[in-house]
């Protein structure tokens, strides 16, 4: 994949906001002193009257976002995933989730690929926390194309949503005309021996893993589970019944995120052997993103090894 174009999903988010801002006068964007990092600065320049700077106050930002949304705005409010899902959790739960406010919680810098900033800034808990909130849509796009397409769906649909975006450049997987539906998984590769269900930046690794497995005679189905909630149960059950084994892959804790969500379906509807690739119930550390992914076991090679363990 040497020549593959690489774009960070946060950059795609920034482009989306500027484009959507032109079409949607009720779109308001918020940031908590991170507009450059969150890529909300493009919107800020284009539509300063619809940009609300919250300062270093994530809790206040999400409560204000609820107030703006309940006044008829569509609000995209951003900070680092750690300070969104972690610090502002209860505000999101009570003021956005419980009210059903039309706030799109667009959290950048999710997972370990935050890199050098280290453990205080690397969240592996956000998908789990957010999917616990009734009515919350939870999305973790794999690349720039799906980020923009899914964000389009998300702002078109009334209600709270959490969109996890990344800091680092990641390969563009999809053709730019590809269409996406929230809650409908994408099968990227057919296979009958095992299914790799991946989300976010691990989708590209899942595809690379499937290539490598094919060379060893294992045909792996690869699914991009961009929507963690509502989960595409049908795709999971089909994968379980047709391929007999499932490996999940996420840049998130193996506790409660994609792996947990898939396991809940599998165990209740079609029990098959499962294994999970992700952060193993430990904190991260500073380092280059690629080195961290390798150290903490979230690479294509790790997926290959785990697939072989269940086959």
């Amino acid at each position: 994949m040497a020549d593959v174009k690489k774009i960070a999903t946060r950059a795609a988010y920034g482009e989306f906001l500027v484009e959507e801002g032109a079409k949607r006068p009720e779109l308001v964007v918020m940031s908590a002193d991170l507009s450059g990092s969150n890529k909300t600065d493009g919107f800020e320049k284009a539509y300063p009257e619809r940009f609300v700077e919250a300062g270093i106050s994530e809790q206040d930002m999400y409560a204000e976002a609820a107030g703006l949304a309940l006044s008829g705005k569509v609000v995209c409010a951003s900070s680092f995933a750690m300070f969104v899902a972690g610090r502002a959790y209860e505000i999101i739960r009570n003021s956005i989730g419980y009210t059903g406010a039309n706030v799109k919680i667009c959290a950048t810098h999710g997972g370990i690929t935050v890199g050098e900033d280290g453990a205080s800034h690397q969240t592996f808990e956000d998908l789990a926390l957010m999917r616990e909130i009734p009515g919350m849509t939870v999305i973790n796009p794999a690349d720039a194309v799906s980020t923009k397409a899914l964000l389009g769906e998300v702002v078109d649909t009334y209600g709270p949503a959490y969109v996890r975006l990344g800091r680092s450049n990641v390969p563009v997987i999809y053709d730019e005309n590809e269409t996406f539906e929230v809650g409908k998984a994408k099968t990227l590769r057919e296979g009958s021996d095992v299914t790799i269900i991946a989300t976010g930046i691990m989708v590209a690794d899942a595809l690379a893993a499937a290539e490598s497995l094919a060379a060893d005679g294992i045909e792996a189905r690869v699914i991009d589970m961009h929507t963690i909630k509502p989960l595409d149960k049908e795709a999971v059950i089909k994968a379980a019944s047709e391929t007999g084994a499932i490996v999940t892959a996420e840049e998130h804790s193996v506790l409660g995120g994609l792996g947990g969500a898939v396991a809940e379906v599998v165990v209740q509807s079609c029990p098959v052997k499962m294994a999970m690739v992700g952060q193993k119930d430990c904190f991260g550390e500073s380092g280059k993103p690629a080195a961290l992914l390798e150290k903490y076991g979230m690479t294509a090679a790790d997926i290959v090894a785990v697939v072989k363990s269940v086959k």
Partner: protein
């Protein structure tokens, strides 16, 4: 000066306290102390100051009130019922399974409730967001946030206070129901919040002191707060109140924060609230 019928307002407040207490008594659960301290503030707003339409609760350009101290919602339900948002008898299902009248306000279940609150501090910040939206849309409505004084111990209040000043929200009026008591005792013993007005002043607010049980004082304060529109500064009204106001054995007693009266206490309280009528 606007003509006001103070006798009628007092009568309304008396009914509100009685209905709030009836609801709490039937539920055998709820918060009489803070409901009674905030009653007169809510009556002054909903029966005089606020631009609202009970027949059209979602009216454009209306004034909005967020009861950030959500536990005092029996008083708000009773005010909304008295004002005609719904039949006040409906609130006698308070805190029962299936009721629209939740223990803390739910905006999706009860007309006239602008925001679901209960987790302290958040309502204040949500109200700031509403005031920002009104400014963006050039809407005339004021946004009121009613908080307790113990609630000021929540950090989000001060984050939002910075925002309100920073965004020059002269359409935002915070009212502190300063009853001086919280569950564990005197607010200033538990975690000192006074001087409340000076704190808000240093955050960039216009500040007004009021007697939260005197309609003349409340109207003077609210009128002044509204007149601050154009100053580019938010306003806080620090309204001195008494927890449990209206029932002598509940007055200024922290123990009546979140406790329902037994039958005997209920009868005595209703008798006292019934007064000479």
């Amino acid at each position: 000066m606007k003509e006001r019928n103070y006798q009628e307002l007092k009568e309304t407040a008396r009914k509100v306290r009685m209905n709030a207490l009836r609801a709490i008594h039937q539920a055998n659960s709820g918060h009489p102390g803070g409901s009674f301290s905030v009653t007169d503030i809510l009556v002054a707003l909903y029966f005089d100051e606020m631009n609202i339409d009970p027949k059209n609760p979602k009216m454009e350009d209306r004034d909005k009130l967020v009861l950030s101290k959500g536990h005092a919602v029996p008083a708000l339900y009773a005010v909304l019922g008295e004002r005609g948002y719904f039949d006040v008898e409906e609130m006698m299902t308070l805190r029962q399974v299936g009721s629209h009248f939740q223990g803390h306000p739910n905006m999706n279940k009860c007309p006239g409730i602008e925001m679901s609150t209960g987790s302290l501090g958040q309502g204040f910040s949500v109200a700031v967001g509403m005031a920002i939206a009104n400014k963006m849309d050039k809407k005339d409505g004021f946004v009121y946030a009613v908080t307790g004084d113990g609630e000021l111990q929540e950090g989000i209040i001060w984050e939002a206070a910075l925002s309100a000043a920073n965004h020059k929200l002269d359409n935002f009026i915070a009212i502190v129901d300063w009853n001086g008591l919280q569950i564990d005792g005197n607010v200033d013993d538990v975690k000192k919040v006074t001087p409340i007005d000076e704190k808000f002043a240093s955050f960039g607010f216009n500040t007004i002191m009021a007697d939260g049980h005197d309609f003349e004082s409340l109207f003077s304060a609210i009128d002044e707060a509204k007149a601050n529109k154009g100053t580019g500064k938010p306003t806080v009204i620090v309204a001195k109140t008494h927890k449990g106001q209206g029932v002598s054995f509940m007055t200024d007693q922290a123990g009546w924060h979140g406790k329902a009266p037994n039958d005997e206490q209920f009868e005595a309280a209703m008798k006292e609230l019934g007064g000479e009528k």
